[in-house]
């Protein structure tokens, strides 16, 4: 089977965006397994990765159902090429050192917790049900990553420097979290999607509180990177997919 293109149905595209975010970040976190700074973090990062991959699976399955072309979660995850992936750039950024991984997780989870909380009110019953499960998981992801941001920021000089550097480097990808486009606007008006702009204040408050406790400096909002939602990614996504999709590409049509 070759690369597929998914139908331009807003709800399908919306579910794919959410699924791609979860899968790509889950994939990134899974790269840590066996290599973390301590055994407890091997286990914790794998846990978060498993939650995210679980969310991705539900969302892909739902996208496939709505599309109605008979595609399952694996076809959607394994047979789209990078330009068809719809995740935000933040989640595909490399793990870097532990500070980069933790700050990336924190910035994302601080957004996703209010996101899923709001999504529970969606008129789309499936998305609301997925949100109810995801909210509980993300509450833990946020707590875990925020605690580490504080430990690193207020730990040693070295950990402070690394955490600040991670924050400064990743900040440019946070603007994209709050973008909306025509696909989303129609769904927001229909009470199905969450308007990300409405989450900015809460996200900003969470970030300020944690950074303050961590003695880290919030970077100024300057120019923001964007493109993931329209399939323009950083160079990193191609390598993620090369790994992720290897077996499906090398042995087309096989059952695993």
């Amino acid at each position: 089977m070759t690369t597929i293109t998914v139908a331009d149905i807003p709800l399908v595209q919306y579910a794919l965006r959410l699924a791609d975010n979860a899968l790509v970040l889950g994939h990134r976190l899974s790269e840590w397994c066996g290599h973390a700074p301590m055994l407890e973090e091997d286990i914790a990062l794998a846990n978060i990765a498993l939650d995210l991959i679980g969310q991705a699976r539900m969302l892909y399955t739902y996208a496939g159902e709505v599309e109605g072309a008979g595609r399952d979660e694996d076809q959607l995850a394994y047979l789209r090429d990078a330009p068809q992936y719809r995740n935000v750039l933040l989640v595909e950024q490399p793990n870097g050192d532990f500070a980069v991984t933790i700050v990336r997780q924190f910035l994302y989870s601080a957004f996703m917790l209010p996101f899923w909380r709001r999504m529970k009110e969606s008129k789309d019953e499936t998305l609301a049900a997925i949100a109810a499960k995801a909210e509980k998981e993300v509450a833990y992801h946020l707590r875990h990553s925020a605690e580490w941001v504080v430990r690193l920021g207020d730990g040693t000089d070295e950990s402070h420097r690394r955490a600040q550097e991670a924050l400064d480097d990743l900040w440019i990808y946070t603007g994209e979290l709050f973008e909306t486009d025509d696909v989303e606007r129609a769904l927001i008006e229909a009470g199905i999607a969450v308007d990300p702009a409405s989450l900015r204040e809460e996200w900003s408050r969470t970030v300020d509180e944690v950074l303050n406790e961590a003695t880290l400096t919030r970077p100024a909002d300057g120019w923001m990177q964007t493109g993931g939602r329209s399939g323009r990614h950083s160079e990193h996504l191609g390598y993620i997919l090369a790994d992720l999709q290897f077996l499906q590409r090398a042995y087309p049509g096989a059952t695993w």
Binding site: G34, P37, I53, R57, E73, Y78, R151, I240, W256
Partner: protein
Amino acid sequence: MYTQALNTKETLRPVAPEDMEREARFQARIDAEEKIEPNDWMPEGYRRTLARQISQHAHSEIVGMLPEGNWITRAPTLRRKAALLAKVQDEGGHGLYLYAAAETLGISREEYVEQLLSGRAKYSSIFNYPTLTWADIGAIGWLVDGAAIMNQIPLCRCSYGPYARAMIRICKEESFHQRQGYEIMLTLCRGTPEQKAMAQDALNRWWWPSLMMFGPSDKDSQHSDQSMRWKIKRFSNDELRQKFVDATVPQGLYLGLTFPDPDLKFNEATGHWEFGEIDWSEFKNVIAGNGPCNKQRMKQRRKAHEEGAWVREAALAYAQKRKARREQRAQAA
């Protein structure tokens, strides 16, 4: 998994007369199937044997995360990806509570980890083999976890309480892993000819190393007598190996695979599968550090440990700062 530690000879020091009486009482408790607990008196040899055995078991779980972790990012479906990640995570969990059990013997986890990273402590030889294809993930679950279970089920009745209790939970998870591995093999064997060839190739490479997991043959390993008396070990290496072969061969034949052993045949009279001679020179070399992946596994472990040092230092520094601030506040109040 991984009781190869029991094949190392324990040098026993001369026993003082007052200790002989205590040892007799200790042995009587063991003979009565009582559990020994951390605060109970125990002979130094018993403590050392267990510390070595449990920590090597823990090290094996941790190093064992690497060969399987090698396929997490390349798992062929999302279900397989989640299952493999959860499995490797389980192994990290096993390592964690085995280190905790080993710590009850008076040595800290940091010291045990230092023993591993400095090369003084060993881990199971099996993890020095590479995972070259996806079928290796199936073969490891089926064979390596299968062999581990054979070793570990008797350890649930080990005389040392903390180890025995840890093993009960570990065995439950390992048995799940074993079924999962076999199911991967089954799927491959029912798949395309290429997939079946992949499964056969994995069996060819993992079969003999799996048999080696049980350690040297009984005739070359008298060291386990004391472990048997202490009820740390309950069956001999050859007994366990035979049990594994008897259980595993029919499973492989059901898959339609061939075992890489021309001498393998069923003995109607004994009801056992007879198998050929293990290549002990390979075994000894892998144990001695010359296996295909010994160096890279240890390098990866050391790298993770060294690159994580600043994180552990930060966590410690933060905890101390917090404590100091709490005390300051208490004084001010």
